[in-house]
Symmetry: D2
Subunit: 201 residues, 4 copies
Amino acid sequence: MAKLYFRYGAMNSGKSTGLLQAAYNYEERGQRVLLAKPRIDTKGATQIESRLGMTREVDFLLGPDDDPRALLAEARGDTGAGVACLLVDEAQFLTAEQVDQLFRVAVDDDIPVLAYGIRNDFLTHAFPGSARLLAIAHTLEELKTICRCGRKAVFNGRRIGDDFVFDGEQVAIDGAGDELVTTYESLCGHCYLEESGGRLG
Amino acid sequence: MAKLYFRYGAMNSGKSTGLLQAAYNYEERGQRVLLAKPRIDTKGATQIESRLGMTREVDFLLGPDDDPRALLAEARGDTGAGVACLLVDEAQFLTAEQVDQLFRVAVDDDIPVLAYGIRNDFLTHAFPGSARLLAIAHTLEELKTICRCGRKAVFNGRRIGDDFVFDGEQVAIDGAGDELVTTYESLCGHCYLEESGGRLG
Amino acid sequence: MAKLYFRYGAMNSGKSTGLLQAAYNYEERGQRVLLAKPRIDTKGATQIESRLGMTREVDFLLGPDDDPRALLAEARGDTGAGVACLLVDEAQFLTAEQVDQLFRVAVDDDIPVLAYGIRNDFLTHAFPGSARLLAIAHTLEELKTICRCGRKAVFNGRRIGDDFVFDGEQVAIDGAGDELVTTYESLCGHCYLEESGGRLG
Amino acid sequence: MAKLYFRYGAMNSGKSTGLLQAAYNYEERGQRVLLAKPRIDTKGATQIESRLGMTREVDFLLGPDDDPRALLAEARGDTGAGVACLLVDEAQFLTAEQVDQLFRVAVDDDIPVLAYGIRNDFLTHAFPGSARLLAIAHTLEELKTICRCGRKAVFNGRRIGDDFVFDGEQVAIDGAGDELVTTYESLCGHCYLEESGGRLG
């Protein structure tokens, strides 16, 4: 039986690179994969972009009301050709219902699903997609990156201009939509609490 | 810097045994540990009980409004003797605020915290304590057990008498409080969906 | 397809407890397990003993020339009743050939094998069974314990009386066979190198 | 205290990509890394090459008699500038002594070492560097890839031309040195045993 995997990590932990490598590994073996991501991510429009410079088109985008299982069937086409794996980037932006459908893709349709995403937002709360993936995914695997202090990063601080901020909407895509540029910095617990003045959540 | 660990698993995956073994390992090295659990668990009152037959008194119980960091300081006493580790059983019943305090015990007080708990309830939703632990714990480690079919269990089905039920309160301690006895069965995704008629969450 | 798991750890990391808990979990589900260990271990004769106080008889002992696959078939008996899992304690003392047979039990006979053992000896060399398990097991899982300094233990220092020693046979069962008692202490890399004067291997 | 990590996987599991991503993550944080690999690998000469198309020069090559700790000190230079991480590719080709020195770099010099490598050769034996890393590394992390059948690959079959071969030197770099081209295929235990006629090791 196939499984739903959640490969989570702080920002800039190499999630998109990992996804593109996994896709490459399958295709090198002559196996077909499909790539998807939520529509909310406006960074790459229809592309998955790795900071190392690789990009690739997704096979389908998921709007908040879309059913990934139906879109998978559609993308798969009439040929009946098998799909060896579904790879989902930015999975933190999925809805809980979409995660449930990914679980059914794995369990009922026997297609492994690799979902890559950020675990928690700039206030340390789990994103909706991540919360559901953390609750039900068959396997949780961490992709690690470091804080500026060298410890493992577990949080994602938000900056507007130079300053860390601890108010605002959950989603503010980095580099977009503000007069001052919004950026994120992966932080360990110690450095996050230092910047937030002890605030957590 | 110390870490907050969440060792999660389906029911009957050996969580209490693992906790008691970890406590034993520390004490064998001459190091002091403290044990705690939420008050909501009425099974063992003030004890941590392993299905293998071992039991041990907790050092403090956590009511829903209690601050684990304050109770830890109190239990630690005036001696100034160090605490090498705080071990928390049934961590799924903690509040989000209590988990945040456990995170501060690890990061600010430099005492490792090992929290053991169930990931999701009989309807596949994360428990409050588990949801927060999954969102912020430094390390997530799975304790595995099997479904009746031999696959890894990820869910916890609830039975009243012989029948699986999919309505009711989140917390119904097994073996307690009903005319018909309430029990739980660890299930894989496939067997859970079969029993629930496809319902998830 | 079943897998061969190697659950390794320093001495006193709770390996036998973990094995007995895994056996309990299977049997609680009505599934049959078989327990085995190499004959070289004279500590418990035909028993698996946990430091927490639990003991259990093995189903068969493995002499250096015994084939675990044949002994498994024999222990299984004529009934044709399935075996859900083979659990092997002290797996560091297996021969490479015996590990290969355990691999075939998993892959060819489709019976999961959980092998528990110590990774390296008092001179930091892998034991024969561990070396082969580390090379081919499907899944490597670490059971953690701590050094006296609080760090994770990775080595096993040998003492005769009060002194650490760095010469001698690979196997000297603790508490046996010397005028002065032989004991072991789980150590982190730092403390090991301190005791050994920088010697490694 | 820093650690020695062994990130192992079958061929084509994305080891070099993972290494280059880890280097990128450090440097993005303004931290300096050094890259090294054994000289035996003639594929990329002084480069680390990812199948996804990225390449990067190593800071130093390790001949069989070279001491990685001395070369690290040399590459580090007189500036006294810190090195946040040493990244080693093709670590299976290290000698046991070189692995011991990497352990000392982590423990004594407090510089984390990430060693990436293949676990076992075409006959399922551990490579010398892998054997020592599996025996002493602080943390073992698997990089997964799939077999042609969809299962996880654990072995590396060697082909000369179209045929799998089970005799020959341990090291025969793929695509080099034979009239017929030597290639490798990552295989699960089941497919390996099928190709080898049951031979293991």
